[in-house]
């Protein structure tokens, strides 16, 4: 009788043969020299060992010149970051990308601003047993910030860190969280091939990384390090995460720059943002300024909101533009909600334009509602709806239009 060990090995080999099995295919280096745990490999300068299996490094460099935008935006900014000196721009690297309780965070990077300096701190876990101390130090970084800023951290990094704290019986540290992925999507989804931080950083900020590794290769690289304890394997990983957090600062400044620039309608040299980016962002930028969904509980910045309305109105005027209808719908909804005479006039102008130039059913209904309920111009409303009913494309709107016609006709007759 074979021993259990031999049978298990045989089973594993059989699984690797079997095409139907889901056994993971692993790279060939898995039997590389394994160093016994506790056998510490020194990490080069500026790394310092701060606890068993926990390392820290700190890098100081001049802050990016766009920083002024973040300072001037502060509490009035579109992102809700507040005072940039109180913000912690962070990113993590993990042992897997699918999440779940078995995925650990092994590298934490935090960029903070101190006057004209950008300080990047890295905390690294060189083996799993050091996780409590590692988390303790990560928690300290978050704890000292007023706001944390990430890219896709709301869905990935933050829940993962929370889980790690809980699994180590530690209390998770929570701070208001600004996730730049969402505003970046609004601004760049239509102009860029993708919205990964790498793409945005390359195409928008013009950053070229010299030492880097694709994010999806990071876990495997870390596992190689764990087996071989060769710190040089991690050079690209450390560089990668530093680029990530530095770009976060740049990206936040860029977004605030685009917004403030569009508000003041003049080039802001410190932001380094071209008028062209504003036009490219178009609809997304307009909505971002108008709706201001990321400012937390702060009241709307009315200057930025006004800029958003202007932007969407001008987009709505470009009848040929593919986004003009959406822009018109968004901005008219907002104008109708405020309901000042001036705002309503702007909305009416857009509706009329869409009715006459695009035979828009949406605009017909909106305008008819306005004429019926606000100005009680029943005859005009009647005529408007009657014309729309003669259009061949009125399709699913027909029932609603016919009911409306009956109602305004009777109101007109009664008068």
């Amino acid at each position: 009788m074979k021993s259990l060990y031999d049978r298990l090995k045989a089973q594993r080999e059989a699984k690797e043969r079997s095409p139907s099995s889901g056994a993971p295919k692993r790279p060939a280096d898995r039997h590389g020299s394994t160093v016994t745990p506790g056998d510490e490999t020194a990490l080069p300068e500026p790394w310092r060992r701060v606890a068993d299996q926990v390392w820290e490094a700190c890098f100081i460099e001049p802050a990016p010149r766009e920083l002024a935008v973040l300072h001037s935006a502060a509490d009035n900014g579109i992102l809700g970051i507040g005072d940039p000196d109180g913000a912690c721009f962070f990113d993590t690297e993990t042992t897997g990308l699918s999440g779940g309780a078995g995925t650990l965070c092994f590298l934490f990077a935090a960029a903070t601003l101190h006057g004209n300096e950008l300080q990047t701190e890295l905390v690294f876990l060189s083996d799993f047993s050091g996780e409590p101390e590692f988390l303790e130090r990560v928690g300290r970084r978050i704890d000292s910030a007023r706001t944390v800023v990430s890219y896709n951290g709301k869905r990935f990094d933050a829940p993962l860190l929370t889980g790690r704290f809980l699994m180590n019986r530690m209390t998770p540290v929570l701070r208001p969280h600004v996730d730049l992925l969402f505003p970046a999507r609004r601004l760049f989804a239509r102009v860029l091939p993708g919205c990964s931080l790498g793409t945005v950083e390359r195409e928008v900020l013009g950053v070229r990384r010299d030492i880097d590794i694709p994010g999806e290769e990071v876990p495997e690289r870390y596992f190689s390090f764990l087996r071989n304890r060769d710190a040089s394997l991690l050079t690209e990983v450390f560089s990668h995460v530093r680029y990530d957090v530095t770009s976060l600062v740049g990206l936040a400044a860029h977004i605030e720059g685009v917004c403030s620039l569009s508000a003041v309608r003049r080039p802001a040299p410190s932001a380094g943002v071209a008028e062209a980016s504003i036009r490219a962002a178009g609809l997304g930028l307009g909505r971002l300024l108008l709706e201001q969904p990321y400012r937390g509980r702060r009241p709307h910045n009315e200057v930025l909101r006004g800029a958003g309305i202007d932007l969407l109105c001008s987009l709505a005027e470009e009848v040929e533009h593919p986004d003009s209808l959406t822009a018109a719908q968004r901005v008219c909804a907002a104008l109708r909600r405020t309901g000042t005479p001036a705002d309503l006039d702007r909305a009416v102008a857009i509706w009329r334009r869409f009715v006459s130039e695009r035979r828009s059913l949406w605009a017909t209904v909106e305008l008819a509602k306005y004429l019926e309920h606000r100005t009680r111009a029943y005859r005009e409303a009647e005529e408007l709806v009657r014309t729309a009913l003669s259009w061949p494309h009125c399709g699913t709107y027909r029932g609603g239009l016919e009911r409306r016609l009956t109602r305004v006709s009777s109101k007109a007759a009664r008068r």
Binding site: K9, G102, D127, F128
Partner: protein
């Protein structure tokens, strides 16, 4: 005199009917055993019970309540109509009232059952204004509702698969729920046997491990249908002491159980009327007498046929189909269609239903007065579950078991003492099965680092050091400090299925009239047998012809058409040896372990005329064979070996039956030693195996990739063979019966007694 009494009397006086009856057993009515509503029960709950007409509860419900409230794990045996849900809902809801932070997890084996359960529990909750929050959490729960279910659900209804792949691997998200988990309800415990049960037991181990981490220690409340060993099974799943509550306090009306052999239509050849026609005739007599009836059939096609024939007989515009509504019910219908049938049965709009074993499980369809079993369901336990679908608390019921022409069915009706005397089958599982344990250990380490010296399971679980060593070498786990950590980017639960069946279903699309409408679905292997091009597919009585089976995109296109025949695929199964791991001389034969490919091919189909069931032609099918790569052990009987010579000594005519019957005995005996279910292993016999060039018997794992059962047969072969020999020798039957070598099949085994042949083979082999 009530309708049911009248029809029973009519049957009794019907000579033609009674000539077919081989046994009419009357089980006397039983009065209920009641207890007062527990004194500590909250007035709101008490009022809710009274609102449902419950002034006192059954003894088993009271016992279950007391045990659960005292913190004791329990299993309660719950036949139909015994008020199962109160056995757990009382304790759970009372605890929720006392401590609103209480959480409970309800596990049901299938998704359909969990939805039914939520409706039922919803009633209670609504009625009592307790405001207990109940949420279903399974693969169909939309993302938008998941977070709320986790955060606020007091009772979470799910299935073991979701617990395994969705909840446990993400336990930090469930911290609030798991910290306060006080009850785990495992319904339909009897389904957790064999390989599936071994998987589920490991999922329970993982759940307990995570609960320990969060400081929770929930009470487990299990419900089981009647099986041979409910207490043992519960102890095997929970791995600790379990209180068995098997005295049912619910009253039951008088029950008539009739074994019925359809009349001979050809006395010379011994051909009897088919079960399809006979079942519909008997069911119609019951329905026309005003008796609510369920017909159980053994296949999806027969379910459709019986329901179709019944509806055709009833069809009459002037009488509004005699005001009798009959529906069919099986897997593969749209969930909304199944819900509608269940509801119709409960509220009385539907009078008769024809079903596969899908309705054997605890789906609530209200009370029925009669059950007709179109064929023996394959096990005693299943038979009683199906027969038990007829029967209410107060009134008389009747159930009729109809025998098909198969030797097994014929044996049952011709030996009523055997049928009525035999205890329901026992259920076994082996949670330490090497394959299964290894899989779940990975999941466990993913979920929480494993402490050195930690016992994976509190009470058993054995040493796992060797497993850990292999996993470390493989690089999926890593030792750091005094713990083992998951060290792989993968998500292990994703690649581990608790069930052998594939989940990739073929969607059936009706293209009649140019409108594409999804009418149902079917698992892929069955689709190959039932939805091939030109197959006739029957769905809720409507006939469709399959215009195209698109396996790649998992779609089958069908069109309505009225045709006078249906189709039946001829399935061929063969085995190909892929790789031999080991070949040893053992116990007088050659024992070979290795990998095999089990190939199932449908190359032809028969066209069978409706009603007469005559064969009116054949058609070709060209679809790729279904393949399963698995592990097997082959016993090769070479000349010169003890077994080979013993086999060669048999009369040539008995050679083939003897080998086939060794397979049957194996199937009867091996589950006791392998701790599995008979359906977990496949058996194939070859008089002259092309790979080995000698007679051979294959025992293989019925799970893709293998489940370790075949492999461990070698270690217990000695005991299996001794048990087989003893079983055959001591079995009181003359020529074989279902307990030993299987009943004699006189259509094939014309000369000679197969039982004697098997016995002499076994004796000579073991003596040699």
């Amino acid at each position: 005199m009530s309708a049911i009494d009248r029809i029973i009397e009519q049957f009794r006086e019907d000579r033609a009917f009674m000539e077919c009856v081989t046994r009419w057993e009357t089980i006397p009515a039983r009065s209920g055993s009641y207890r007062d509503i527990p004194s500590d029960l909250d007035p709101r709950l008490r009022t809710a019970l009274q609102g449902r007409g419950i002034e006192r509860i059954y003894s088993h419900q009271a016992e279950a309540y007391a045990a659960a409230r005292a913190g004791r794990d329990l299993v309660v045996v719950t036949p139909t109509a015994s008020g199962k849900t109160l056995c757990y809902n009382l304790a759970v809801l009372q605890t929720i009232i006392e401590q609103p932070e209480t959480r409970a997890l309800y596990l049901f084996p299938t998704k359909a059952l969990s939805q039914d359960q939520q409706a039922e529990l919803g009633d209670t909750v609504l009625a009592t204004d307790i405001g207990a929050r109940v949420a279903t959490y399974d693969g169909d729960t939309p993302d938008s509702l998941r977070a709320a279910a986790r955060e606020t659900g007091q009772v979470i209804i799910t299935n073991p698969d979701m617990l395994h792949s969705g909840i446990l691997p993400n336990h930090p998200k469930w911290i609030k729920f798991l910290k306060h988990l006080r009850f785990v309800v495992i319904d339909e415990l009897h389904t957790y046997r064999g390989v599936f049960g071994s998987h589920v037991t490991n999922v329970i181990r993982r759940l307990k491990r995570i609960c320990r981490f969060y400081g929770a220690d929930p009470v487990f409340i299990c419900c089981s249908a009647t099986i041979g060993n409910p207490g043992d099974l519960a102890r095997a799943v929970l791995e600790g002491p379990v209180q068995l509550i098997d005295t049912n306090g619910a009253p039951a009306g008088e029950r008539h159980v009739v074994l019925y052999n359809p009349p001979l239509v050809d006395r010379v050849q011994g051909i009897r009327r088919g079960v399809v026609n006979e079942a519909q005739t008997i069911a119609l007599r019951l329905l026309r007498a005003g008796v609510k009836t369920i017909v159980f059939s053994r296949s999806r096609v027969r379910t459709e046929l019986i329901a179709g024939y019944m509806n055709k007989t009833l069809a009459n515009l002037y009488t509004d189909n005699e005001r009798i509504r009959v529906e069919s019910y099986r897997g593969g219908y749209l969930p909304s269609e199944r819900r509608a049938v269940e509801r119709g049965l409960r509220d009385g709009a539907i009078h008769g239903v024809v079903s596969t074993n899908a309705l054997e499980l605890g789906i609530d369809i209200g009370g029925l007065d009669a059950a007709v079993l179109a064929g023996f369901p394959g096990s005693i336990a299943s038979s009683w579950q199906q027969l038990g679908r007829a029967g209410r608390r107060q009134t008389v019921s009747i159930s009729v078991l109809l025998a098909s022409a198969s030797p097994l069915d014929q044996y049952m009706v011709k030996n009523p003492d055997y049928f009525f005397g035999r205890a329901p089958e026992s259920a076994f599982l082996d949670a330490d099965n090497m394959y299964i344990l290894a899989d779940h250990l990975k999941c466990a380490i993913f979920e929480l680092p494993f402490e050195t010296g930690e016992r994976y399971s509190v009470t058993s679980g054995g040493p796992v050091e060797e497993h850990l060593a292999v996993l470390e070498e493989e690089g999926t786990i890593r030792r750091s400090g005094d713990r083992w950590y998951w060290a792989d980017r993968g998500y292990p639960a994703e690649g581990i299925s608790l069930r052998s069946a594939t989940s990739d279903n073929v969607v059936i699309i009706d293209t009649t009239g140019g409108i594409d409408a999804v009418i149902g679905e079917m698992d892929r292997p069955s689709a190959k047998e039932m939805l091939f091009d030109n197959a006739i597919y029957i769905h809720r009585g409507d006939q469709y012809v399959v215009t195209k089976l698109d396996l790649e995109n998992r779609r089958a296109f069908v069109e309505r058409r009225d045709i006078n025949y249906f189709t039946d695929a001829l399935v061929k199964r063969d085995i190909k040896v892929l790789l031999e791991d080991e070949r040893v001389e053992h116990l007088g034969c050659e024992v070979v372990t290795g990998d095999i490919l089990v190939r199932t091919q449908v190359a032809k189909f028969k066209k069978i005329r409706f009603h007469t069931h005559e064969n009116i032609g054949y058609g070709e099918i060209s679809i790729p064979e279904e393949e399963m790569h698995t592990k097997a052990v082959a016993l090769v009987f070479r000349p010169g070996s003890a077994a080979g010579d013993a086999l060669a000594d048999l009369p040539p005519a008995l050679l083939a039956p003897a080998i086939a019957r060794i397979g049957t005995v194996m199937r009867n005996v091996a589950p006791f030693f392998l701790l599995c279910d008979a359906r977990d292993i496949g058996i194939a016999e070859r008089i002259r195996d092309p790979h080995f060039g000698a007679p051979a018997l294959y025992v293989y794992d019925a799970y893709p990739g293998g489940s370790g059962l075949a492999e461990s047969l070698t270690a217990v072969l000695d005991r299996v063979l001794d048990a087989a020999r003893q079983l055959v020798r001591e079995c009181p039957c003359e020529e074989g019966c279902p307990s030993c070598v299987g009943p004699r099949d006189r259509s094939v085994e014309i000369d000679g007694n197969p039982k004697a042949a098997v016995l002499s083979f076994l004796e000579a082999w073991r003596a040699g």
